[in-house]
């Protein structure tokens, strides 16, 4: 199934028509919707509750604006800055204990929630405990519960977290995560309280935080409205916000050209429709922390593969085959085609832009058919050939990445066959959640994170999330060493030694890849010229924008 669906056809028609007729759109001299930021989003949130939201999901965009966390990251650098905590804890200021097990946060004074109640350490303890108690499967409570052993409100303005083991990524990964957002204890307890394993319906559709924006309304399938919090503890936001939800991506492009939208969410394939448009600025800079990858399954049950697949279940146990796939992929075609040139190639598995990325690490970044052929021959599959399926969602970059793979592999040897199964998102999610997985390959993107430990644990560790499902232990040349290096790096508090461990891992994983990383997608945004203060930060949830920074 290689069709990308009816939407692609519709979009092609609309794009052609738009280009033909909208070209003469003139720049509007005056600012549209003064005092209001209109952001056109591509997704409806599934929840607005920090304890329920999935990383990378549309709800995180709104949570980022309405709730605060103890620490934050500014637009200019990945360095942590204080938010509801008055200072960033460190060994030097005594915020981190010598053994790395206890973190003490002095809290900011005089902060109030949007419901008028005062912010105290009890709210922090309540918010973190709440997420861990609810422990919703769709949420990200594990980011807290995997590291935090206990929480304590030492006094009204001091909060302490004790970890279950030292964690080098606690501040960067856990404290800034959306699940660690601070909610109003009074608001939650007045509206359903906390129940283990059960979502809170009020919090899923309402928000009571301390952030620069107050929640006003969520009209399903239509818009979300936020208003400036005039009592914000920091610098006040300048513009109210209306997030327009969903709709056709071409209409979003048209709306930006017309000045009806100030910012839009789109992907690089639409940028050509905006290049040269009057009054529109295309912002490029930085990379999303969500590498686009294709997973190799080393844990395929007998008889489970689609009938057209001819590979044995231990096909990907051989590292030469995984290397050959990585060498055969046409990286330039993917980067310059679907990604319109906006992206880069990152080593396994450390995205560019986070701590631990080694600029000198070997990277699969260009097609090498000679090496791919050599490896396929050595592995003994060249003469006989094979047929293997890759499952993905239809109508997006993942499906296009699979088509590039298909083209790359089938051109290398006509006896090789890649079947791209592009299915509806729900069908993919269902298949993707199975253990064992009944497909030899699947394509998607990584979840974003601020620390390399997340990627290494989730995507490389033989006992990690995907390591278990994919059976990495069946295929690593030295699984124990990979596990040992990842575990050491996770608790290494000395940055230099930690970076060295990640460098070693990146070199090892180049020779023993468990993924094919198509590219790390570039950040490409488009906004009206009249929007001032535009900035992005890939460590913020997609689309990596803080509306409070903007003015017009």
């Amino acid at each position: 199934m290689t069709t990308l669906g009816w939407r692609s056809g519709l979009q092609a028609w609309i794009a052609a028509l738009t280009l033909a007729l909208a070209a003469p759109l003139a720049a509007t001299a005056e600012v549209n919707n003064p005092g209001l930021l209109v952001h056109a989003a591509d997704d409806e949130p599934t929840t607005l509750d920090p304890a329920q939201v999935e990383p990378g999901e549309g709800g995180e965009t709104v949570i980022l604006q309405v709730y605060d966390r103890l620490l934050d990251v500014g637009p200019a650098s990945p360095d942590l800055i204080p938010s509801l905590a008055a200072v960033v804890p460190s060994l030097e200021n005594g915020g981190i204990s010598g053994d790395g097990m206890t973190y003490t946060f002095k809290l900011r004074e005089g902060v109030t929630f949007h419901d008028g109640t005062a912010f105290t350490a009890d709210d922090v303890k309540f918010s973190w405990d709440r997420a861990m108690t609810m422990d919703l499967p769709e949420g990200n409570a594990g980011a807290l519960s995997d590291v935090v052993a206990s929480t304590e409100a030492v006094d009204d303005m001091t909060f302490r977290a004790t970890l279950s083991e030292p964690s080098a990524s606690f501040l960067n990964s856990t404290v800034v995560a959306m699940v660690a957002s601070i909610v109003s204890q009074d608001a939650v307890e007045a509206n359903g309280g906390v129940e283990a394993g059960v979502p809170n319906a009020f919090m899923a559709g309402n928000m009571v935080g301390t952030g620069p924006y107050k929640f006003v309304a969520w009209n399903r399938n239509e818009n979300i409205q936020l208003e400036v919090n005039d009592d914000y503890w920091g610098e006040n936001a300048k513009l109210d916000v209306r997030i327009e939800i969903g709709g056709d991506p071409d209409v979003r492009v048209l709306g930006l050209r017309a000045g009806e939208f100030d910012t839009i969410e789109t992907d690089p394939s639409f940028i050509a429709d905006l290049e040269g448009a009057d009054g529109v600025t295309i912002f490029t800079g930085g990379l999303l922390l969500e590498p686009l990858h294709i997973g190799f399954n080393l844990n395929i049950p007998e008889g489970a593969l689609p009938s057209e697949d001819t590979i044995p279940v231990d096909f990907f146990h051989d590292p030469r085959i995984r290397q050959a796939f990585n060498h055969a992929f046409d990286y330039e075609a993917f980067l310059n085609g679907p990604l319109a040139g906006y992206g880069a190639f990152n080593p396994h598995y450390t995205p560019i832009g986070i701590f631990g990325h080694d600029q000198n690490a070997p990277v699969y970044s260009s097609q090498n058919y000679a090496e791919a052929e050599r490896l396929f021959r050595e592995a003994g599959v060249w003469d006989e050939g094979f047929s293997v399926s890759v499952i993905t969602e239809e109508g997006n970059l993942f499906a296009l990445m699979c088509l590039v793979l298909k083209d790359s592999i089938e051109r290398l040897n006509p006896k090789f066959r890649i079947n791209v199964l592009a299915v509806a998102e729900s069908v993919f999610d269902d298949a993707h959640a199975q253990n064992p997985l009944e497909y030899a390959m699947w394509a998607k993107n990584a979840d974003p994170a601020a620390d390399p430990n997340f990627y290494m644990q989730a995507y490389q560790h033989p006992d990690g999330e995907w390591g278990v499902v994919h059976g990495f232990a069946n295929g690593y040349r030295d699984a124990e060493k990979v596990a040992s290096l990842i575990d050491q790096a996770a608790v290494e508090l000395d940055p230099a030694r930690r970076a060295t461990l990640y460098s070693e891992l990146q070199a090892m994983l180049y020779d023993d890849p468990m993924w094919l990383i198509g590219a790390q997608e570039g950040i490409v945004m488009a906004h009206r010229d009249w929007l001032k203060g535009f900035a992005t930060q890939p460590l913020w949830p997609r689309p990596s924008l803080k509306f409070a920074l903007f003015d017009k």
Binding site: G5, R7, L10, W13, I14, L17, T18, L21, A22, P24, L25, E44, P45, T46, T47, E54, P55, G56, E57, P137, E138, G197, A204, G205, A217, N219, R220, N221, E222, N223, Q225, R242, E244, G246, G247, D248, D250, V251, L254, G255, R257, A258, E260, A424, E425, S426, V427, F428, D429, D430, H432, A433, Q434, N435, K444, D447, A458, E465
Partner: protein
């Protein structure tokens, strides 16, 4: 059989039919696979998936799931819409009202324009106005809605900037109560001219887009019927009596030509409801069509089952009413045989 007995018998059969329909709807939907996918996140572990299955009773045998579904419906719980991120029962009335308002407005556009154009053309058969009207009508029937819609958007929204997109201005919409869900009606009930104007103004482009296709059908039908009526003897008689041509046309020929046209108008309402899917996507109209399209694409079975069940029950009820009306209007129809 007495009318009262007939009604009672049909009403007694109705619940059985509805249960039958519900079984068919449930079974057909499940043929496509489990509804679990819409509730899953991308990186869930099998244990987490099992938790979600338990939350929605999807870990039970299929027939038990059906009973849970039916019990939920009896209690007004139609399940959780993964697309709308809300209970289906909360969202459905709002979306239905938005779509009905769009379909009714489009129907009004089609009715007024169709009858006017058909009359104008029919009265000027084979002359220039007839040819022009024919071109307009054929265009309406043949232009793809998404193409026509985006064309109107580019011209009136993006270039000239006089027409809005969406259903309402968010601030004005929030300023009034919405007891009926029909924005125009709610605006009248609230006595808010600003809201009423906002509702009408937002309806213009989508209802013209949607109504244009139906306009063509009605206009062609009206023209043909009028041409036929104008050749009848009673029209000659009216002219012979010395009546003005305007009166012959409006009071005699057009009135009779409306009879077959009205039948077509009834049928076009179904066409309009179908067309809302494309128009709602293009114009960001928050109605049932856009919701259903997203639900089909994302496998939101709770929403789809509610929609199919709703339309099936509506069909059963409307059929019952039509039978009763027929029996009442035409005494040759015998009830219950």
């Amino acid at each position: 059989m007495q009318l009262r007995d007939y009604i009672l018998r049909r009403l007694m059969v109705l619940p059985v039919l509805i249960i039958g329909v519900s079984i068919v709807v449930f079974t057909l939907t499940r043929v496509g696979g489990s509804p679990i996918g819409i509730y899953l996140s991308h990186e869930m572990t099998p244990d987490e998936v099992a938790e979600i299955e338990a939350r929605f009773n999807l870990d039970k045998p299929v027939w038990v799931q059906y009973l849970y579904w039916i019990r939920g419906i009896a209690m007004g719980d139609f399940g959780w819409s993964g697309v709308a991120a809300a209970p289906v029962a909360d969202v459905f009335p709002l979306k239905l009202a938005a779509t009905m308002e769009l379909a009714l407005a489009s129907g009004l556009v089609a009715l007024l324009l169709g009858i006017a154009l058909g009359t104008y053309a029919g009265a000027r058969r084979n002359r220039l106005p007839d040819h022009v009207t024919r071109i307009v009508a054929v265009s309406g029937a043949s232009l793809p809605q998404f193409w026509f819609g985006i064309l109107l958007l580019i011209i009136f929204w993006a270039q000239i900037g006089i027409a809005p997109i969406g259903r309402s201005d968010a601030t004005i919409f929030a300023s009034i109560a919405h007891p009926t869900g029909l924005y125009t009606v709610d605006a009248i009930l609230a006595g808010s001219p600003a809201a009423f104007w906002d509702a009408i103004w937002h309806l213009v482009l989508p209802s013209v887009t949607l109504g244009y296709g139906a306009t063509a059908i009605i206009a062609r039908m009206m023209r043909s019927a009028l041409v036929e009526e104008l050749q009848q003897d009673y029209v000659d008689a009216a002219r012979a009596k010395g009546l003005a041509e305007r009166i012959v046309l409006k009071r005699h020929a057009r009135r009779n030509a409306l009879v077959p046209t009205v039948t077509v108008i009834g049928l076009t309402f179904g066409f309009l409801l179908q067309g809302t899917i494309t128009v709602e996507i293009i114009f960001r109209w928050p109605g049932l069509g856009r919701w259903m399209a997203d639900s089909v694409l994302r496998g939101d079975q709770a929403t789809l089952m509610t929609y199919v069940l709703f339309t099936s029950v509506l069909f059963l009820v409307v059929n019952l009413i039509v039978d009763l009306v027929y029996a009442n209007l035409d005494r040759r129809v015998t009830l219950g045989k």
